[in-house]
Each structure stands twice: as structure tokens, then as C-alpha cells.
Symmetry: C2
Subunit: 215 residues, 2 copies
Amino acid sequence: MIIWKKVSNNNNIVYVDKRILFTYNLIDHWSKREFKMAELTKDIIIQQARIRFIEQGYEKVSMRGIANDLGCSHGALYYHFKNKTALFSDVLDYYFQELNSIIDRIMVQEENDKLKDLFLEFIRFGLDHPYQYELMFMLKSKEMDSLMQRPATESYERFAAAVEQASGIHLYSDHIYSIFLALHGFVSLHLHRIENFEEAAEGAARHVEFLKKTI
Amino acid sequence: MIIWKKVSNNNNIVYVDKRILFTYNLIDHWSKREFKMAELTKDIIIQQARIRFIEQGYEKVSMRGIANDLGCSHGALYYHFKNKTALFSDVLDYYFQELNSIIDRIMVQEENDKLKDLFLEFIRFGLDHPYQYELMFMLKSKEMDSLMQRPATESYERFAAAVEQASGIHLYSDHIYSIFLALHGFVSLHLHRIENFEEAAEGAARHVEFLKKTI
DNA sequence: CTCCTATTTTGACCAGTGGTCAGTTTTAGT
DNA sequence: ACTAAAACTGACCACTGGTCAAAATAGGAG
């Protein structure tokens, strides 16, 4: 990414990533600009926030850190997003979509044990996206929760409908909810204690088997 | 609680709680001391930390805030505790004990539905002690987790043993673990979304009923 | 090309955090 | 009364999320 950087009033440096491309001096003000500043868009901010988020988690990612990666000031981020919560709410939209499409994919497959897959893949998603899951289903603050509630509910309803369909029989909504809670319990207890799904795969399989038997 | 407070070098004020008791001046240094400073003990710090913790939660309680309540400097707290984590680890010991005695109490009662009580009271404990539960069973950091793991495991084992005994039959440990996860899931999903157990009592009762049927 | 306005961006600033540590005060024993 | 150990202080550090006046840039109209 190209970054223009002002050094003194008229002395400027143009970077590509972190390396100097060239320097130049302003005569008047570079009227009829041949260059534009690399534009800072919501999208590019979200993208960078996600990169840091995946390895550091919400708490440890700082707005200043993101701004630094992007070669802009942290103040600029607050022009595009009301606050940190709003930024990460947008980051998470992506993952709600991912979870939804996991569910959809299982339902269109053939010859698979759909119930088992639904349960197991939900757990896998949680454990392979620990920081994301944390914010999606284990709220950190009232403010974050109010932003997550709608997409979380939508994902749950998609899951619930899929479970009923996969079972081939009528299920009480309480029953499905209890199963969901049990899956959530597994994820939330193992979150951050293991590195990835595989480490808990056996336990997950047993838990899933237990839940399947209730149907 | 009595607090001595230095104002200028020789001008001192003695407080009881937040109100002035009397002032005095030092001549030399108050040799052969008639008074002792109100001592700052681990216990009194834990006690005050708990008070703030209950209403604010781990993140929002600050060491400076606690020190202020206690009329000492925040540095003093670090003399007694290595860091914030260590302090709150001690705060939580109390609640692990409370959870353990809830389990014990249920088991010595007579003519009660022990399984139902065990399940329901676990949920009640979690929802009525949201900030505590969060730290006890939903780790915030590797450091906190390593301190919580031992007492959490102990509490779980007590719970598991109680469940098996209450059921009157042999239960596979995987089965008990799955039930525990399901209860944990209920608590962790409702935590902070409701004010107290009563608000979720009906849902909790249905979830518990579902789990009982698996036995 | 010159203005002029609107949009973006900057960076000093604020109030707050957990944590450290040299220097001081207080305690307790000799 | 002296001394060594224990307890405590508060300036300091590096950091956080967030604000905002001022400055830079963009884009259109004349």
C-alpha cells in the first residue's frame, strides 16, 4: 500500500509499505494533483483490524496499532467508526456469515450425517475462531452485546431450523435450544485452553454423540 | 476503619471511615508510639476488592480504586499482591468455597430431588454471581486461567461425584461431563444478559428437565 | 488556473489503566 | 536510643480509548 508522509512543511516522502519510494517538494501546493493520498476506507480498516484480531483478540488489539499498520493516525479511524466497538462489530459480520454458510453447506450435502455434522462443525467453528466466537456469543459489554444480538439470533435460528430438518421429525424448540446450549457450553469451556479444534476433537465427538442420543 | 493520613510533613489527620476524628502534630517523631497505623492486611484488601468486584466486575475494578477505598496508595497493594490477577485469584477462592458448600448442602438434605437441585442451583449460582462465575469458569487470560484451573477442577469433581451419587446408578464420566457442559452453556449464554437467576428461572427449569431425562 | 467549500486526516490532549521502584516512614527487637 | 527489617508512598512508565481544533486534501464551479 502506498503511503504519502509529510516530513517538514514542504518536504514529503512517499512510502510503499514501509520503504521509501521517493521524496518530493511542494512548490505551491501540488495543485491539479497528479497523486491522490492512498484512501482510507472502512473496508481496509476492517481488513487490518481482522488481521490483528485473529491473533490478539479484541482486548489486546489497539486502535493505535491498527492505525500504525495502516500508516495513518488513530484519529482517522474515529472518523470512519464511532468507536472500537463499532469497528469490531463490522469485523464480526464476516464471521456470522461464515458460520451461516457452514450450516448451509452441511444441509445441501448428501449422504452425510447431518445432525452430527451440524453439532460438530459448530464446535469446530468456535474452537478454530476463538476470539471471534468469544465476541459473537459471549458478550464482553452491554454495548457489544446489543450489536451482536441480532446476527447471533439469526445464526441461531438458522441452526435450529437446520437441526429440525436434519432430524426428520418434529422437535420442540426447547429441546433444540438445550442442545445448542450444550454445544455452546463445550466451546465456551474449551475456548483459549486449547490451540485448535483437533486437540478437543475426541471430547467433542463424545459430547456430540450424547446430544444426538437425546433426539 | 481508622485511617491515619499525612497532610503536610508534621500535620496529620486521623480519619474514621471518611470523617475526621482528630488532627495532631509530630514533635520529633512520635517515638514510643501511642498509636499504630491501621494495618493493611491481605484480608482487608481482598474484602474491599470483593465489594467493588461484585458490582463492577474484574475489568472495571482498578487497583487505584481499591487503594482509594482503603485510604492507601495503590503501590501498597503491590506489596501484598504480586499483581491484580493474584489479588482476584484470592477473591475468587471464597466463591469456589461457596459453590462447594452449595453442593454439599444439597447432598445432605433429605426428601429433595437432588439431581434437579444440583443442576438448578449450579445455574442459580452462576447467574446470581455473574462476575465471579465469569472468572471462575470462563477464563480471561492464560495467567488467570492457570490460577483458576485447580479450584475449578476441584469444584467440578465435587459436582460430578454428587451427581453420580444422587442418580443412584453408575454414570459414565463422559455423561456427567456433557451434563456439566450443558449447564455451563446455559449460564455462560445468559450471563450479563439478565439481572438475576429469577429472570431465567423458567428456561433454566426446562433445560434442567431435559438434562435429567438423559439419566 | 483560482477559489471556495466539504471531506478527511492529524496529533496534541485527556483521563484513565496496570505495574515498578527508589526513597521514606513505621515497626519491632536489642 | 539505635538499627535493621517491614510496610508504604507517589512519581514515573508505557499503554489504552476517545475527543477535537486545526490543518491538509479533494472536488467542483466560475
